[in-house]
């Protein structure tokens, strides 16, 4: 990673064994009946998914990324810190990124403690992100969506205070009172693990990342929007006096590599279809519980949702999002182009796509490790030599 290039492998750990009639259900989130979850199949999946995360380090990834969702077949990580704890002893040097638990869904002191535990257990390899949480999480958890943003800011404030000030301290907030904020253990990294905000591009969260000097990663926004947010964050962070460092801008790319372009598409498209059409299927009401969005944002998103209506097409997905499906050559070129435009060489690859079987994930990770990562690194090194001369 000393060359500034960084590759993360992000896993969603979906539960793909859905009933045949699953398309009759309006959402794969919130109210999709949990009777369809078979713990025996779940046990096999956990074993498999953990092995995939561990494989990523072996083939050359610098970090693995896990995150949190509730009430959904989209993800089996209701508690991503448990996954992090399970993989830490099985990995040697890769960073463990919990991106992350929405701070609103835990007591802030407890989240500060859990993250500190992971940071200590991994001897300083933890990175964390603070998501507000999707709208769906607010239907699944007993937290008011109408005050979610205010609570979220306060929670982050408490966690940072817990990590950066010698305890015991006090905190008298609008949502939480701490008479003795004094969490044990404290983080291994000083002042604390690297922090990011992940979001879907609300102006409020980009501003927050800039103010706190955190990294920012936009998820499920269009390429165009991601470029805009990138610029906005750079401007805003500079104004707050901490210019963004390239490693703070992970670029999320859905990636699949195979021997030929045709083969890559043939192998990846069914799982992309599952990911966009099924795993992400939800309702407008679940996406936007009352008060969760500003009215302006709600209207903007409602207008956009209408435009996107019409179901999955690979061309649409390819055009709208960062999707690199092809030969190693093509994927390298694609990553370098986007990385160049975003001013980053930190790539966060979604390389286990939807209901992809184990062999494809292994093949994909292996080819990325063998033919993509070394070449992007070599390219960056060559560029630096040119710049130095």
């Amino acid at each position: 990673m000393s060359d500034g290039v960084r590759f993360d492998f992000m896993h969603f750990m979906p539960y793909p064994h859905l009933p045949e009639n699953h398309k009759d259900y309006h959402s794969m989130w919130v109210d999709f009946p949990n009777k369809f979850y078979d713990p025996k199949k779940g046990a096999e999946l956990y074993k498999r998914y953990l092995a995939e995360l561990i494989l990523a380090e072996k083939v050359g990834f610098d970090a693995v990324v896990v995150n949190e969702h509730h009430n959904t077949a989209y993800s089996m990580m209701a508690a991503p810190n448990l996954i992090a704890a399970a993989i830490i002893p099985q990995m040697k040097k890769a960073k463990i990124c919990v991106w992350g638990t929405p701070p609103n869904l835990e007591y802030p002191n407890r989240l500060a403690e859990e993250y500190a535990m992971l940071d200590v257990m991994s001897e300083g390899r933890l990175e964390v992100a603070f998501p507000l949480g999707t709208g769906m999480e607010y239907w699944a958890n007993p937290i008011n969506p109408a005050s979610a943003r205010a609570r979220y800011r306060e929670s982050i404030d408490i966690i940072l205070q817990a990590w950066t000030q010698d305890g015991p301290t006090t905190y008298y907030g609008d949502f939480y009172t701490y008479r003795y904020l004094n969490p044990w253990p404290r983080p291994y990294q000083k002042p604390h693990p690297p922090c990011y905000i992940v979001g879907t591009g609300s102006p409020e969260t980009v501003e927050l990342a800039a103010r706190l000097g955190f990294g920012y990663s936009a998820v499920f926004v269009s390429k165009q929007r991601a470029f805009e947010l990138n610029q906005q964050l750079r401007r805003s962070s500079a104004e707050y006096g901490h210019p963004v460092r390239p490693e703070q801008l992970p670029l999320q790319v859905i990636t699949y590599v195979a021997e030929t372009k045709e083969k890559a598409e043939e192998e990846a498209i069914p799982h992309l279809r599952f990911f966009f059409e099924d795993a992400l299927r939800t309702t407008p009401t679940f996406l936007a519980p009352p008060g969760y969005l500003s009215v302006a944002e709600l209207k903007k998103r409602a207008a956009l949702a209408d435009k996107l209506h019409g179901g999955f097409s690979f061309d649409n997905v390819n055009e709208s999002f960062f999707v690199a499906v092809g030969t190693a050559d093509q994927v390298v070129a694609q990553l370098e182009e986007w990385g160049g435009r975003m001013g980053t060489s930190h790539y966060n690859l979604l390389a286990a796509i939807g209901d992809m079987p184990h062999w494809k994930v292994v093949k994909n990770l292996s080819l990325i490790g063998q033919d993509v990562i070394p070449r992007v690194r070599a390219g960056a090194a060559a560029e630096r030599r040119v710049a130095a001369e």
Binding site: A146, P289, P290, G291, Y292, V295, A296, L298, K299
Partner: protein, 261 residues
């Protein structure tokens, strides 16, 4: 935002209460009758026109609804009680009849529990907010927005004129979303007021409960829960009427008028 068309005889006044701009509609002469609306005012106030023959009808818009300003700090029903103490002072209102519908019924009951000496007679129309043991419940938040209008009435024609032609009209959606946010601030964690039953015995003024027998949002069985705590209250239910019983049944409007006269 698009202002709702209210009947011509209603005068529209703007009042600023603690920095918050709100609209007060009023019409008619006689004893003052304050109407506290529900979690939306987009379906108008046509039902209130007959009352203006006998009463000075005063309909304030709640903060966070219709054209009234938002205040995210108003996060509990009691904040609205305090808002109305200030507004009624500004209007010079001392004693009045109080009619509350749905969310406004919950609000009216809370106001009357604390300030009963100011209320001549109280009418609660399909009031929200009480939870019975093993009783039918309604949770407004469970309804997808596009289904809400249909859940409000027995006869859809009654509210059709207030709905946009395009069911996905962005301005209408946005306004309802904003009001849903206001309601969430008040009721998301606790859709039921668990304290109110302790104090309902303080409602010693004559009290009428009105309910539509076809109420799909808060079923008429909820009336029994209120009557457990208000044994002296009179109950009148109306066939062929949903939650918006006043909008749907002139008989219900007349019943309120008779009770207050």
């Amino acid at each position: 935002m698009a202002a709702v068309a209210f009947p011509d005889q209603f005068k529209r006044e703007t009042h600023t209460i603690n920095g918050l701009k709100t609209t007060v509609l009023s019409a008619g002469k006689g004893e003052p009758l304050v109407f506290m609306h529900g979690a939306g005012i987009w379906h108008g106030i046509n039902f209130a026109v007959p009352w203006t023959q006998k009463f000075r009808v005063i309909i304030p818009l709640h903060p966070g609804f219709g054209e009234a300003d938002d205040d995210p700090a108003m996060s509990e029903i009691h904040d609205y009680v305090m808002h109305y103490l200030d507004l009624f002072d500004a209007l010079g209102l001392d004693k009045f009849h109080l009619v509350g519908f749905s969310l406004g019924g919950l609000l009216a009951a809370n106001f009357a529990v604390e300030h009963g000496h100011r209320i001549h007679r109280l009418v609660l129309v399909g009031p929200a907010g009480l939870r019975g043991k093993e009783r039918p419940k309604g949770d407004f938040f469970l309804l997808p927005p596009e289904e809400i209008p249909g859940m409000l009435v027995s006869n859809f024609d009654v509210i059709k004129q207030f709905l946009p032609e395009n069911p996905k009209d962005l301005d209408f959606m946005g306004e309802r979303y904003r009001e849903g946010g206001t309601l969430a601030r008040l009721l998301w964690e606790h859709p039921y007021d668990t304290k109110l039953p302790r104090y309902l015995h303080r409602l010693t003024m004559p009290t009428l409960l009105v309910w539509g027998e076809d109420d799909k949002l808060l079923s008429v069985q909820n009336a029994d829960i209120w009557r457990q705590y208000l044994p002296k209250a009179e109950l009148q239910t109306f066939k062929g009427a949903g939650h918006l019983v006043l909008d749907e049944k002139r008989e219900a409007v007349d019943a309120v008028q008779r009770f207050l006269s």
